[in-house]
Amino acid sequence: MDQQPQNTTEEALNAKFEARIAAGETIEPKDWMPERYRTQLIRMMSQHAHSEVVGMLPEGNWITRAPSLKREMVLISKVQDEAGHGLYIYCGTETLGVDRAELVDQLLSGRAKYSSIFNYPTLTWADMGVIGWFVDGAAIVNQTVLAKASYGPYARAMIRICKEENFHKKQGYEIIATLAKGTPEQKAMAQGAVNRWWWPSLMMLGPSDTNSPNTAELMRWRVKRKTNDELRQRFIDLTVPQADAVGLTLPDPDLKFNPETQHYDFGAINWDEFWQVVKGNGPCNRERLQARRDAHENGRWVREAAEAYAAKHSSPAQSAA
C-alpha cells in the first residue's frame, strides 16, 4: 500500500511523457523521462561517440601516406572533425547524467560497442575515398533521420554533425572520382576498395528489422525514426547511381532497379560476418581497441599533470588551506 502513491506518480509521469512523445514534442535534459528511455539513449549516443573516436583510426592510418599536400590536409581535417563529433556527442550524453570518463571506460573495457565498420582494415589510398563515400554516406542517411529524434541534445548534435558529414562524403566521392578517371592502376585501386567496403557498409546500418530487438521501442519513442532496413534501402538507392556515374561496379550481381517498388533490389547480406565482427572477431577489433587503450594509458600521466598543475595553481585561499 505504501508503494501506491509513488507508483501512481510514476504512472502519471509516464503517461505525460508518452503523450508528449506522441505529440511530437522534444524532450530536454531536465524533463522527466522513463529510466529505460534514458538508458537506451545513453547506449545509442555513447555508441555513436565511440564510433566517431574509433573511426579516427582506420583513416588516421593513411594520413602520413596521403599522396599530396592537399589530400593530407583534407584527411587531417576529416579525422579532426571526427574527434570533434566524438567530443560533442560525449557532451550530449553527459546531459543524461553519465560522465565521459565512465563512457570511455565502457569502451576500453569492451562493454560498449562501436560501429562494426571500423573493424575493417584500410589497405590502400582508395579506402580513404570509399570510407567517405560509403561510410559517411551511410552515416548521413542514418543521422539525417536522427536529427529529428525526440531527445533535444541528440537531435541538435545530429544537425550540426550532418553538415560536416556531407562534406566528408563529398571529399570521399571526389577521391574516388579522381582515381576512377586516373591511370588503370588507380582505377583498379578504386574498384578494389569498393569491392571490399560495399558489404560491410550495408551491414553498418544495423541488423535486419526481423533481428533488431530494440527497434520497435525506439521507434515509438522517436529515438529512431526509420528501421534499419529502410535506411539501408535508402543508402543503396542513393549510392547505385553514384557508382554508375564514375564507372565503378558494386560487387552484387543481384543489384538491379525494380520498377514496381521504385527501389533497387539487392543480394543477401552475410549476417554471419556481421555478427562475427560485432562479437569481436573482425579483422581489426583487437587492434582498434588496443590503440584506444594505448592512447588512454600513455596519456594518463599527461592528464594527471594537467590536474596536478590546476590544483597547485587554483585560488590562493585553497592553496593555503
Partner: protein, 233 residues
Amino acid sequence: MLGHRLSEWCGHGPILEEDIALANIALDLIGQATLFLKLAGETEGKGRSEDALAYFRDAIDYRNVELVEMPNGDYAYTMVRQFLFDVFSYHMLEQLQKSTNPALAGIAAKGFKEVRYHVRHSSEWVVRMGDGTEESHTRAQKALDDLWRLTAEMFQADDIDREMAAEGIGPDIAAIEPKWRAVVDDVMKRATLTIPNDPPAMTGGRKGRHTEYLGHMLSEMQIVARSYPGAEW
C-alpha cells in the same frame, strides 16, 4: 616536417581535446609549408609544384633543421619540441612579414597569426608538464635535455641567409636568438625545468645532412606519390 610529425598523433593523443588541437596545429604548419613550397617552385621557375618539392625530393635535398624531424617520442617530447620551434617560428615570421618580397611577407603574415596560438598552446603544456607531477616533470626535463642540443641550428645563418638579410628579403636569423632565449627562459622558469649546459650537437639539416629519422619519415610520406609516377590524386 613538423606538421607531418604532429599528424602522426591523430587518433592517439592523451585526450580528445588534444587530438583536435594537434590536428589544428598540423594543418596550420602543413598549410604554411605548402605556401612556402609553392613560392619556392615558382621562384625556381623549373615547373616544380609544391607537391613535386614535397614528394619527389630525397632526404638529402631537404633543408629543414633537424629539430623538426625528430620522432614524436612521448607527449612531453612532442610538446617541448613544439615549443622550442614555435617560439623560433614566432620571431622568424614576425620579422619575415617585413620582407621586401611581398609574396613572402604575405605568407609570413598569415603564418604569424597562427603561430601566436601555437606558442600559447605548447608553452602552457610545457609549464603544466614541468610543474605538474613528478613523472611529468621527469619526462619534460628528459625531453628538454635531449632536444636542447638541436636548437642552435635554428640560428646558424649561412651565406644565403646573410645575403637575404642584406637585401631585406629574409630576417637576420642570428638576431632572433636572444628574443627566443628570453621567452624560453621565462617559460622554463615557470615550468621549473632546467636548461642544460650541453654544447650544440653537430647538425647539418640545412645543408641536407640530416638525422637518420628523416629518410624513414619521407619513405612513408612519399610511398604512394612515388609508386604511381605521373598520377593525379
